[in-house]
């Protein structure tokens, strides 16, 4: 599997990463090498095999539907990059009237 520079740019966008032009070349080569390497998986016939998602094959544990979390907004927002009036601030997303 060889990726093109266009593929790598698309993957970077999906992962919300910004790549420098020089890095695109490097990652195109490295990611292609890694994908070629993982293609060894195709040596194994897995047609009849069920995927294995949890090492203990345990189901998801459920707990009673009661509130266990306390409000820690102030503690959590104390380490946020930008907050105002209890809200996390980001650049404007929705066009609105000024």
């Amino acid at each position: 599997m060889s990726l093109t520079a266009g593929d790598v740019k698309k993957i970077a966008h999906l992962a919300r990463l910004n790549l420098l032009e020089n890095d695109v070349t490097l990652y195109t080569q490295q990611l292609s090498t890694i994908l070629n390497f993982v293609e060894q998986m195709n040596q194994a016939d897995t047609a009849e095999i069920e995927p294995f998602f949890n090492p203990l094959d345990l189901g998801q544990r459920l707990r009673p539907d009661v509130v266990t979390e306390q409000n820690q907004r102030d503690a959590f927002q104390a380490i946020a990059p930008q907050v105002e009036a209890g809200l996390y601030l980001v650049p404007q997303v929705i066009e609105g009237e000024e």
Partner: protein, 483 residues
């Protein structure tokens, strides 16, 4: 204090022969004096440590102390620690002061242990050499031109250099066992689900497992007693009783059936490591164990499967780092997309970026079945290999790594060669089984690690088998010159 076991330190503390303050001061001074050569700590929490020691001494004076009260410990910087920087080796979290304690940190604090600081690691636990840390590489105390292994390289180097008597680590593909081997100390990765993952920054959630480094299996047993156990806050925590691991350390090995996987002894294995393992086999035979060749035929496929599953889970877990709620944020974002993209690209290093992209690709529309589902099917084949093997043997023994520590910089430009250094450890994570590495010799001045693999929740058996070997040999008592 330097070469005392945790049991001895505990007895000295209870008998008031030493205070926790003296013990803590002793290790803090060693860190100050010796760590500049190793870079094994990201943060030294001197004041908190002295405060905790004072509290421990008060408990000891009141007769309210437990077996670990007053014993110092170093924590891998992947465990969230209330009020203390928790960087995970990344620029992304360089400014992150955790607002809560991980469950294991809480357990150690409640047991009265004294945290000395947070240890260096590969960024987000991705790496096998500790060269991927934002805070610089860690040096191997046996030879500072060599890597200590990774990703828990800081913890391994700190214990090897006696900067802490015990340290935590995490193991997703070998990140405890490989650095334990390369630094000549004992390390245990318990069964998936045995140790709480709550507050342990997630890399690949179906593989990540916390564990420990110490100088001996006995020390590991003492501390694992406190670390292990069910946690409601971790949805994959196993609700299975924890035995007292120190009770069975001295059980006889007579009749123990040990499996030797044919695949672990190929030409790829360093000759001296192979010979050291053969010598260890003779020690076990003397103790009454019998050896049986077994097959783990899908071992070679475990690395490609791992390098799909781990990146896939990592790309999903690391999506939370968006520059909005905590962590690194870029300057003057022009819109929301710019905020996400620049914050993430500035915050993540190269290996993390590579793995996020591989994972994103493997999970993207049209490729999910070919990569992720295929890898999860191979994971079942790998787990089945172990299941079959454990029908005829009690424990599996082999090398931890195919070669001893490599030089700093030797493998940084070739990701695949770095990935291959985990060939003997990765399958154990895929199957969720417990594994250990203990010192078994030296080659050209560098330590050799021997791996023991057990069936699910057989930690007590593994520690017993490791302890029996350490009573017959003295590899685990060797310390690097200058430390």
């Amino acid at each position: 204090m330097l070469n005392k076991s945790i049991a001895e330190l505990s007895h000295s503390l209870q008998a008031k022969k030493i205070s926790s303050h003296e013990l803590t001061q002793f290790f803090l001074e060693r860190i100050k004096k010796l760590d500049p050569q190793l870079n094994s700590f990201i943060t030294v929490t001197e004041q908190q440590a002295l405060d905790a020691a004072k509290k421990a001494d008060a408990q000891l004076a009141q007769g309210k102390a437990g077996p670990l009260t007053g014993i110092p410990i170093a924590q891998k910087d992947i465990f969230c620690t209330l009020g203390v920087k928790t960087s995970c080796g990344s620029k992304m979290l360089d400014n992150f002061i955790s607002p809560y304690d991980a469950t294991v940190i809480k357990r150690f604090n409640e047991a009265g242990m004294v945290m000395l600081g947070k240890t260096n690691m590969d960024e987000f636990a991705m790496g096998s050499s500790n060269e991927n840390s934002y805070y610089g590489s860690v040096k191997n105390p046996w030879n500072v031109e060599y890597v200590p292994g990774g990703s828990s390289g800081g913890s391994a180097a700190a214990v090897a250099a006696s900067l802490a008597p015990v340290a935590t680590g995490t193991d997703t593909g070998g990140s405890i066992r490989q650095p334990a081997a390369l630094c000549g100390i004992s390390g245990i990765k318990p069964t998936y689900g045995r140790i709480s993952r709550y507050g342990m920054i997630a890399f690949a959630s179906s593989l990540d497992q916390g564990g420990l480094f110490a100088k001996s299996a006995e020390d590991l047993a003492w501390v694992l007693n406190t670390m292990a156990g069910f946690d409601e806050n971790d949805s994959t925590s196993a609700n299975i009783a924890v035995p007292d691991y120190t009770n069975t350390l001295n059980d006889s090995l007579k009749g123990l059936r040990i499996g030797l996987p044919k695949e672990f002894f190929s030409d790829a294995l360093d000759k001296d490591i192979g010979n050291a393992i053969q010598t260890a086999i003779k020690v076990y035979e003397k103790l009454g164990a019998t050896f049986h060749e077994i097959n783990l035929p899908n071992t070679s496929l475990s690395i490609p499967a791992y390098y799909v599953i781990a990146p896939a889970e990592c790309s999903s877990n690391l999506a939370r780092f968006d520059g909005v709620r905590y962590g690194h944020r870029c300057e003057d974002p022009k819109d929301l997309e710019d905020l996400y993209k620049r914050s993430r690209s500035e915050g993540f290093g190269k290996e993390v970026t590579r793995r996020i992209m591989i994972g994103t690709y493997a999970l993207s529309a049209g490729y999910y079945d070919a990569y992720y589902i295929k890898a999860q099917k191979i994971r079942r084949l790998v787990a089945d290999d172990f299941r079959k093997a454990f029908k005829s043997v009690d424990v599996i023994l082999g090398p931890t790594t195919p070669s001893p520590a490599f030089k700093l910089g030797e493998k940084t430009s070739d990701p695949i060669s770095m990935y291959l250094s985990d060939i003997y450890t990765i399958a154990v994570n895929l199957a969720g089984l417990p594994g250990m590495s203990i010192p078994a010799g030296f080659t050209k001045g560098l330590p050799i690690g021997m791996q023991l693999i057990g069936n699910a929740f057989a930690e007590a058996r593994l520690l017993n088998v490791a302890h029996a070997y350490q009573k017959e040999t003295d590899w685990h008592t060797k310390t690097p010159e200058g430390f």
